[in-house]
Each structure stands twice: as structure tokens, then as C-alpha cells.
Symmetry: C2
Subunit: 343 residues, 2 copies
DNA sequence: TTGTAAGCGTTATCAC
DNA sequence: GTGATAACGCTTACAA
């Protein structure tokens, strides 16, 4: 149906292989024939067929994107579109396309990955999350299929190229900041316990407390899934504590959750930051727009995606280079939801 | 490298074509050989190579997704992840994969689409937007390449399969609702003027006013890009009007924008809904979480995506069926940002 | 019911 | 420098 390399060859009066070489800009072809062939391609409106090329090359120039099993929740979070933009930009620069694994649950997604990989649909895969035990990761690793991960691998840190923030340090600094503001009763509302990022941040939080000789309280550590309802439940739990044990500050895993927290506190007649300080993670667009504007740790989500694409493409094109770890800087953006403890 | 159909054939002691037929579940193959071949496939861990299959079939089982040129803005909006979920679910049901067109601006995206289409990477395309003049649409139409659009086509409505809300009606009902609440000075803050959805909603708004014999005021109609800053600018402009001309109600194109509006009004010391009623479109997660919770027109974004996938796949698989139009229902969710006009 | 062989549109290895 | 020709892994007439 479409114009093929053969049509161009005939039209330019050369062999198909010559046309192929012109496309690849092979230096052994004379400028003259190059011109001639290019003219023919323009004339006929030729576009190379990626599928045929992929088959011959054993390479597709496509990157597969894997979201966590609970993709509905994940998609809702502003993290997703931003990281996607980063991935897209990184891929585009190197002429790679992005393909999404579809599926409602873990099982479907796992099968989707296997199909993609074994089916030769993609040259590499980006895992947009890091979980504690992950079949997909194990599968990819066992097959030695090129992949990178956004987040810190739970195992084999040195054998998996990954792009991450220093979440331990970020949480530690955040906690220290609150301690400097005079807070000692600091709650930690983390995300899912089997997400590595949660674990890392919890450790950072605990590290800061220990260093400041502040006792840790079990009741201050809560885990909720990354959604606003989570935030609400957590607040209620904390606010049921006797007044003298209630936290004066809270570190929240995610801005969206923090929004829920803010709302719930508002309903309970507790003011932020007067009665309680809030600081969350991600610094998405909305964090500026809440009332009060949220203090939030900016983790450079776009950069995370961008670096992930670049690193994956490097792994695909130079598989023998060593695994690497890219740390994207974070910084605490202080707005109005956090401040000195009231006396 | 990988296990191919030939390996399976040898192992099962049949011809490659037989294996192929077993995969396709061709009824002319005896149950016995089917069993034998399947056993061999399991034994060897065979997975069909999609690329080769695509080349032979001239079909990829991949759907291309096209975002508007200003994809950074588009991605930020919660509309995107939700419609993506819908698309993903619809595609998954029919075993199609999703591929994203990458590119920062209109030009790059256009080129991306051409590459995708001519390169045979996708069997069809979903346009996630509808613009007034759109090169990409014209290109696809001219080539008679299967595509569907989310939104109402500006031209050729009967010759383009599309999935849309009845935006005219939705805006009309919304305006009528405000009129019933006693409002007459109703502002309309729309999105980009070259988006068809904006045009449609504006018409609905105007239709309702006319029907109620309310004079239209130029100053009440504003166009802003779909972002929160837009909302803020718009409010300032409206609030500079002399008190007796200030609108008592506003229809806002998008929840995110409405959030900006809400914030700005708050800063100006204007209360919602006491001083001014606000109602917006999309009903995304956050609309419940604002203070006050936003009244919002739910346009069933997920459904929009889901139906788009399904319709596209139908077009791909049955290209001779007539073009169709799918209207996804909307409904007005009344929360606390809108109410009776104060006396 | 199953096997043979051509073809899908490229690239790459030879020759010349 | 350029042209045949054989892959790449699968599907699908056409034969048997």
C-alpha cells in the first residue's frame, strides 16, 4: 500500500540496499547518489516502515512504561503526569517512543510486561515505582532485559540503574527543620509500607529524632495509601490522642494527602500553622494553591522522569557500561503551613 | 536469540505454519496437534514476536495517543490521567497497547504523528482534544487513517467518529441552574478560544441567557488558558468592575482554574458562595477538597476515554461501518460553592 | 488436516 | 561505491 524502499529504489534507479544506506547516511555512498535518492524519497513521499526496520534490527526504539498495580490511584496523583512529561522529553530527544503497559491490577500488569518484553515490542522498560518485593523487577533482572527504576531498589542497589531522590536525607532535613522550629511531637504519615520511598523517609525521620534525642512514639507513625481519604483518617486518629500528646507538627508523604489533612483539621477547628505545622512531599502545583499554601519538599519530579529516560536509553545503547545511580536533588519549599511551635 | 515459531515447530515435530495456526486457534487443526504444539510452547517458554507478526499482518495492535501541542499544560490537568485510565481500560479489553506521541510543541507533535502513522507503528489514533483548525486532524482525514476524537470536531462532524459530552447542553443547564438561584450577572470564564469545547459551552451559556431574557455583557466573558493563573487574572478583571456590575455568579471552564478563582476571591475578602457563586467543569478529585467544596459539572472523563478506545478499535476492525458519535452523559454536582443569590 | 513457500519492508553481509 | 541476497519471525495462499 504505502511507498516502500523498493519504490524509491526503482524511481531513483538504484538498488534497495543503496536506499537503505542513504537513510542510514552511510559515508560510503557518494554525495551524488545520496542527493538523487533523497530527491526520489521526497518526490514519492517516502517514510520508512518502523516495523520492518525493527524486525531487521531487533530494536524498536520504544520504551515501555510500567506503573504500579494500583494504577488508578497512581494516575490520580499529580506525580504521574509530571514524571511522564520528563520521560517524554528524555525519550523524544533520542527519538524513542513511549508505550504504556495497561492493566487494572498487578497480575494484568505483570502479564503486560511479559508480553511487551518477550514480544519484542520495546527495547527497555522504566519502572515508575519501587516496591519491596516485585515480581516484575525480578523478571526483568532474570532476563537481563534493560530497565531502569524510578526510586531506590529494595535489593541489588548496585546492580540496578535507578534514578532517585535522597529520600532518607530529605526526610531527615525536613524533620530537623521542624525540630529547629521547636517541635518535638512530630507525626509521620507515610504512604504504603511496601513502597521503598516510604521506608527511606521513615528512616530519615527516625534518624533526625534520634540525633536530637527525641523519643519516638509509635502512635505518631501512620501509614496510609496515597490518597486524600488516607490523610483524613490519619488526622482523626492523631487528634483522638489526649491533648498533651497530640503532635504539633506532621510530615505527610504527599501533597494530595496533605490537602486532605488540611481539610480535616479545618473541619475540626484546628488551625494551620498556629496549632499544628504541616509539611509534605512532592511540591505539585496545588501545594501553592491550598489555604494556607503548603510547605513541601520539592523532589524535582520532572527531572526524575527525564533522567530515567536518558539512563535507560544509555543502558539500551551501551549495555556494557556499569549500572549507575542518579540522585536528583530536592529542596524544602517553605510556605505557610509550617512554622515555629506556639508557646 | 529468543524462542521462535521454528523452534516450537521442530520440538513438536510439525511445520511452522502449523504452530502459527495453533496460535491463531485455527479450527482446521486437530485437537491432538493443538495439544502437542501447546505443550511444546509451554515447554520452551515461547512468546510470539509482535514485531514479526505486525509486519506479516500489517497491523500492530497499538493505539497512538495525541495530546495537544501545549502538552505541559494538558498533562498538569487531572483530566489527563483520568481519560488515560479510560483509554487504557478500553484498549486492554481488546488487547491493544497504548503509545504516546512525544513532543514539546505543535510542530514536534505533528511530526510525531506522521512518523507513527507512516511508520506503521500504530493501527489508529485518538486525538485527546478538539481544536478549531488542526493540521493533525486534516492529515489523518486526508490519509483516511483510522482515528477518533475526544470532543466535538469543528468541521465534518458527521464524518469523524467522536466521543463527547453535550457541552452545549451542559453549559446551558448550568447557566439555567444559576438563573434559578436568582443570578442574572453571570460571568463565563472559558478556556482557550480555539478549543471547540469552549465554543460549545459559550453557546450554551448564551443560549440560556437569551432564553431567560437576560442581557449579555461582553465584560462577563473571559478566556484564559486552563491553568490556575488564568483563573486569578480573570477574577481580578471582574472584580475591578464597579460594585453594581460585578457578577454574582461565575461559570468556570475547569476545576483547577476554579481553585485559583477561589483563592483569589479569598484574598480579596470576597466569600463564596455568600458574595459570589462558583460552578466549574470536570468534577475532578480536588473539587471535593477545596473550601468550600466546588459545585462542578461531572463530565465522566473516564467514560470519555473508555468509549474512545472502544470506538477506535471498532473503526480499525470494521472500517466500513459508518462514523458514529458517542455522547457521554454529564451531571451537575451541587456542592457548596454555589447557591441562592443574596438579597 | 498439515506442509511448502512466498511475502511483509527493512538491514547487513557479501561480492564486484 | 553499489548491487544481489539472505536474514528477521511471522502469516497465508496454495499444495498435498
Amino acid at each position: 500500500m504505502s511507498i516502500t524502499i523498493k519504490d524509491v529504489a526503482k524511481y531513483a534507479d538504484v538498488a534497495p540496499s543503496t536506499v537503505s544506506r542513504v537513510i542510514a547516511n552511510n559515508p560510503r555512498i557518494s554525495e551524488k547518489t545520496k542527493e538523487k535518492v533523497r530527491a526520489a524519497m521526497d518526490e514519492l513521499g517516502y517514510h520508512p516502515n518502523f516495523i520492518a526496520r525493527s524486525l531487521a534490527n531487533q530494536s524498536t526504539q520504544v520504551i515501555g512504561l510500567v506503573t504500579p498495580g494500583s494504577s488508578d490511584v497512581f494516575f490520580q496523583n499529580p506525580f504521574f503526569p509530571t514524571v511522564l512529561r520528563g520521560l517524554s522529553e528524555g525519550a523524544h530527544e533520542k527519538q524513542y517512543a513511549l508505550q504504556l503497559v495497561t492493566g487494572q491490577n498487578e497480575e494484568e500488569i505483570y502479564n503486560g510486561v511479559v508480553q511487551m518484553v518477550q514480544g519484542g515490542r520495546v527495547d527497555g522498560v522504566v519502572l515508575l515505582y519501587s516496591k519491596v518485593e516485585d515480581r516484575i523487577l525480578i523478571y526483568l533482572r532474570d532476563r537481563k532485559f534493560p530497565f531502569v527504576m524510578i526510586g531506590k531498589p529494595f535489593n541489588f542497589v548496585d546492580e540496578i540503574t535507578h534514578v532517585d531522590n535522597d529520600n532518607f536525607q530529605a526526610a531527615k532535613e525536613t524533620t530537623e527543620y521542624l525540630i529547629e522550629m521547636g517541635h518535638e511531637r512530630i507525626a509521620f504519615i507515610g504512604g504504603d509500607k511496601d513502597l521503598v520511598v516510604t521506608v527511606e523517609r521513615l528512616l530519615g525521620y527516625q534518624g533526625a529524632l534520634k540525633q536530637a534525642d527525641i523519643d519516638q512514639k509509635e502512635e505518631y507513625i501512620l501509614h496510609q495509601s496515597f490518597l486524600r481519604e488516607g490523610g483524613q483518617d490519619a488526622v482523626c486518629e492523631l487528634m483522638e490522642l489526649p491533648l498533651e500528646f497530640r503532635p504539633t507538627a506532621m510530615i505527610v508523604a504527599d501533597d494530595l494527602m496533605a490537602l486532605g489533612v488540611l481539610n480535616t483539621l479545618n473541619e475540626l477547628g484546628i488551625s494551620v500553622p498556629e496549632d499544628i505545622s504541616i509539611i509534605s512531599f512532592n511540591n505539585v502545583l496545588m501545594s501553592e494553591m491550598s489555604r494556607p499554601p503548603l510547605s513541601s519538599v520539592d523532589i524535582n519530579i520532572f527531572e526524575l522522569g527525564y533522567e530515567a529516560s536518558k539512563s535507560l536509553i544509555q543502558r539500551i545503547e551501551k549495555p556494557d557500561e556499569p549500572f549507575k545511580r542518579v540522585i536528583v536533588p530536592h529542596n524544602i519549599v517553605k510556605r505557610f503551613s509550617s512554622g515555629f511551635i506556639k508557646l
